[in-house]
Point group: C2
Chain length 201, copies 2
DNA sequence: GACACAAACGAACGATCGTTCTATAAAGCG
DNA sequence: CGCTTTATAGAACGATCGTTCGTTTGTGTC
């Protein structure tokens, strides 16, 4: 890896955890230059525009998410167990990664949902991809016969998303120590309501 | 109402709908002055600081929420019917009010959850109050015997919050026309799982 | 109409914003 | 080593930020 790639990555690392606290929209070249002990122009040259820097942060976030949340779960056999793993990794990924201020993309979703442009598109695509991944994971739990064949998969994913959002808000804003337990209760209820009847033995 | 109060309210009206689009943190005195056809200093004098303006917008939002979401439902008899009304009003309140860009407080929650200060405190208190209101409404549906006596009320509210967040994201980011239907399905499942058994007749 | 007070303005402040340009320093390669 | 390319620094740009100040305009009251 050349020198350029190296410092670019160092900048992204810093931008990533900074954006976690103040949001992707709150990033500023000057502050980021101070934190990385660079000049504004030197840092700027790596991205060409602020928007490109913000996009790079969003892409970085997607990549880390895939590595930390999705990939480890793929080593488990498909089905409900893998789904449980994905959800558990998902709920914990702000702790796993260096995300002192919560998921970057999730915060960006609330920030840019009314502001058309490349940033909104990137966020939208990232969350669409997440929804697809979740849907595929749920679908496999249907295929293994653990969830009912008539499970409404999109509805299932919709509710998973709700559990995630509620958990984050409780944790971050209310410092609620029960947040994780509540998430588990909600998830179990969701699974139970869609569980296939036990085969008779 | 004196002249001062009058223009102050006009400023808040504009700030309110503007903050809905760009967030409370994205508000700027200059832009707001242009929109209200005032000078920056003239507008500034009404609040004394930007933070005070932001706080005023958050308080304005709370007030409108109470008027549009909570108060109409209070005219219904307590119980499940009132709960349904509150949830329906809640899910629709960004349409009811002039909120082109979603709930101001909800967006602010994601924006300030890591940034200690008066703004975070205000958001936190607003959402705590909402949670208390919801909890009280659920509790009455327990008292009327429509929900089971052992209903976990905090859990119920937690999941209501999840439904709201998921619905907003689907609507705003994905333009999903099914969002409202999915919210209803999720709510019905939540009620059904906590419904008291029908009394024998 | 004169007076007191509140409200709004216009100009300016220093700070920071993203961005551009030119020049220097470092890295990579023969 | 020298040479070319790349990476970084530094200074400056116009724009906008929140805020302050002194002045002017407007409102309401005797």
């Amino acid at each position: 890896m050349g020198k350029g790639e190296q410092t670019r990555q160092a900048i992204l690392d810093e931008a990533f955890s900074l954006a976690s606290c103040i949001g992707v929209g709150g990033l500023s070249i000057g502050v980021l230059a101070d934190r990385t002990h660079m000049s504004k122009s030197g840092l700027f040259a790596h991205f060409g525009s602020k928007e490109e820097l913000q996009l790079a942060v969003l892409r970085e976030s997607q990549q880390r998410f895939a590595e930390v949340v999705v990939r480890p779960a793929l080593r488990l056999p498909r089905g409900l167990g893998r789904l449980r793993a994905v959800v558990a990794n998902w709920l914990d990924w702000t702790k796993t990664c260096n995300l002192p201020g919560g998921c970057v993309i999730n915060a960006a979703a609330a920030e840019f949902d009314d502001q058309p442009g490349p940033l909104r598109d990137e966020v939208r695509n990232a969350l669409l991809a997440l929804n697809r991944t979740l849907a595929a994971t749920v679908a496999k739990a249907v295929a293994t016969g653990e969830l009912r064949a008539d499970t409404d998969i999109e509805q299932f994913v919709f509710e998973l998303n709700g559990i995630y959002q509620a958990t984050q808000q409780r944790r971050r804003l209310f410092n609620d120590p029960e947040a994780d337990r509540r998430a588990l209760v909600a998830f179990d209820r969701l699974v139970r309501d869609n569980a296939a009847p036990l085969p008779k033995e």
